[in-house]
């Protein structure tokens, strides 16, 4: 298949996947007892409940209900968040930037560190440095984020007092305008260096906690695919041309080893997204994840539905981009399912 056709095909499957996801999300609300819970804000009399049912078309067959729900969603009606006591649509944007800032920071840590570590270890197979990196990456993949975060908290916040928790020092950020919602960027735009420093300072611990697992996954993939590439004939052929070890590694082996790693990076994004739920609870980060956690505990179905829909669509798009990059990078593959 041509790359172009492949991309078109992927784009065509995308809506199917989004609709599929929405059906699952919708189905979830129907399994969990009374679907009316989504719309109720206080206790109601049977008559009122009946009236609500009619208002929200709950007396109709399930497919019709789904249709009305989707119609509402597409018009920006995501329901009422009991946790935030506000419409979901209004709360979302405020929390979104906080979560993305954290996830992106962790992503940058994970990708740069993961690839560097993987390359380093793969090129020095079975040397001490390789063993150390392997231990770090194996333990990273089985590290419970909630525990690692708490350890960081105990050591660097409680005992050493090096890093603060929360998102920022409110005094510094009240005065600054928030065009992007990303505190680091907002601080830079405002030219307020101490605010920028504060934002970074608050970001380091959660980003490291969140990024560790992803770093481990990427490093592991990079290492194994580099080792595999280094066994290929073309690496010997490159050496036989008289190229320096460094050129063979960088230009020949690493480039090809990056190809499978790219796919893993895409999957890692989901890992980071879901990790924010835990990291935000522990580091008291006012983002989507923390909101979701409290919604889960209070059975706030509208928030849960919106959050799940949103993260999966985001995840789908990231993976689409990754797939396109992959298809472009790997000219060998006969594309297909």
């Amino acid at each position: 298949m041509q790359i172009r056709d492949y991309i078109i095909r992927r784009l065509m499957i995308l809506p199917i996947l989004i609709i599929g996801t929405s059906i699952i999300v919708f189905a979830l609300t129907r399994i969990g007892g009374s679907p009316i819970g989504i719309y109720l804000s206080h206790e109601m009399s049977p008559a009122e409940v009946q009236e609500m049912k009619e208002r929200f078309h709950l007396d109709k067959p399930v497919p019709v209900q789904y249709f009305y729900w989707i119609k509402g969603v597409s018009q920006g009606d995501l329901g009422w968040s009991g946790v935030a006591s506000a419409p979901v649509v209004d709360v979302f944007p405020k929390k979104f930037a906080a979560t993305m800032e954290l996830a992106i920071a962790a992503g940058i840590v994970a990708v740069s560190l993961g690839i560097a570590m993987g390359t380093f270890a793969g090129a020095r197979r079975n040397k001490i440095s390789d063993h150390i990196i392997r231990v770090v990456s194996v333990s990273g993949a089985s590290m419970p984020l909630f525990w690692f975060a708490i350890l960081l908290l105990i050591i660097f916040w409680v005992w050493l007092g090096w890093f603060p928790i929360g998102r920022s020092d409110p005094n510094l950020f009240e005065a600054i305008p928030h065009p992007t919602g990303f505190y680091t960027i907002d601080a830079l735009l405002a030219g307020n260096f101490s605010a920028f420093r504060d934002a970074i300072w608050h970001l380091i611990m959660p980003a490291v906690a969140l990024g560790y697992g992803a770093t481990a996954i990427i490093a592991r993939m990079m290492r194994s695919s580099l080792i595999e590439e280094l066994q290929e004939d073309y690496v010997d052929a490159a050496k036989a041309k008289g190229l320096a070890e460094r050129v063979v590694l960088k230009k020949h082996a690493r480039r090809n080893a990056l190809v499978p790693t790219v796919t893993v990076i895409g999957l890692t994004f989901g890992f980071l997204l879901q990790g924010t739920v835990v990291a935000e609870i522990i580091f008291r980060w006012p983002g989507l994840g923390r909101w979701m956690a409290s919604a889960v505990l209070r059975g706030d179905q509208a928030t849960i539905m919106a959050y799940v829909m949103f993260t999966s669509i985001l995840f789908l798009f990231v993976n689409l981009v990754v797939d396109i990059i992959y298809a472009y990078l790997d000219r060998r593959v006969v594309l297909g399912d």
Binding site: E232, D233, Y234, D236, A237, A238, K239, A240, K241, G242, L243, A244, E245, V247, K251, H252, R255, N256, V259, L329, D330, R331, R332
Partner: protein
Amino acid sequence: MSPDNLDIQNSLDKDLIASVTDLKVYFESKQGMVHSVDGVSFDIVDGEMMGLVGETGCGKSVTARTFMQLVQSPPGVLAGGNIKFRSKNIKNGSQVIDLLDLSENQIRELRGERIAMIFQDPGKALNPGLTIRTQVAEVFQEHRENDVLEKAGLKNKLSGVTEYFVKKYIKQEAGFLVTTLLKIPPLSTYKKKIDSGINRLVAEALEETQIPNPTKVMERYPHELSGGMKQRVMIAQAIACNPDLLIADEPTTALDVTVQARVLDLIKELQKRHKTSVLYISHDLSLVRRICDRIAVMYAGQIVETGDAETIFNQPKHPYTQGLINALPSMSHERGKLEAIEGIVPELIEPEPGCRFVSRCMRRKANCEEIDPKLKPISEVDKSHKVACLLYEA
């Protein structure tokens, strides 16, 4: 040139380009040391084609890779021997060196420049992620800096920092900073000139191997070319620097017969034109007979017989060589009456002394199991025909 190199120099006959003496390459494995190459000696006459023939796993490829120090270690272990090589066109004239004594940097200067290699499967030996141009260009960039500058019209026209940057770029040593600087004017004009200079060199190299439309082919990726075409690219890359010795490791095994014929013709023709010496490795005795001047037959990590191609083929002495020739289905055989060599190749893990072929040999004698036969000339008259078999020892 250090004094201890001098006596090696004396010891290599004038007409030889390379000489392998008692080469031993072992591999570590869970079961023990595998003696893949176990005391191999042979000479390559300057300007000739030497065929190294043997069946799967006999150690012929390992021998070839040892020339370039391409055996991975671990698990590979160089257990002994030397490979003397006459390097001819280096600045200070011809000199004899031991390839196994060279440091990583020294061997790197020889690879692709004085000794080049063609691999068995061109589909695997070309990097799938890089264009043909990028891959062939590397040889020139690594070894032919001056040619590149000349083709780019920049020879003796550069100085100072510019020269430094440009040379770094050619040598593929440019870091991020230099690469970026070369992308913006005024340095970008030099980069363009260098690139087009390289392009011309690559096109010429491809043209030499009769690739039609070289300027188009070089922009393609390996998977877009046929097997025969890929092997031509490999050959172009190998002979780009006009090496003294070309090692061809089963270069036609992965190809169809008619394509194989074309590639063989090409190798032969180029070898004659450039007077290159070739070490041709193959499992196919009749093919090697056809294009090689001399043949060495390997069995289980050792050379059992060596001599010129016609002698080996018409008057084979070693029972294994005889068996190999008789096993070929030819006109003289009645259906179903091929003379197969019964049994299987012995394990090479910590082998016992004695002839390796003994378990399959039809002519074995009582002491074949104890005495390790040495490769010796068959007669006083023909010193070049040697065989390692007790039958011919007085």
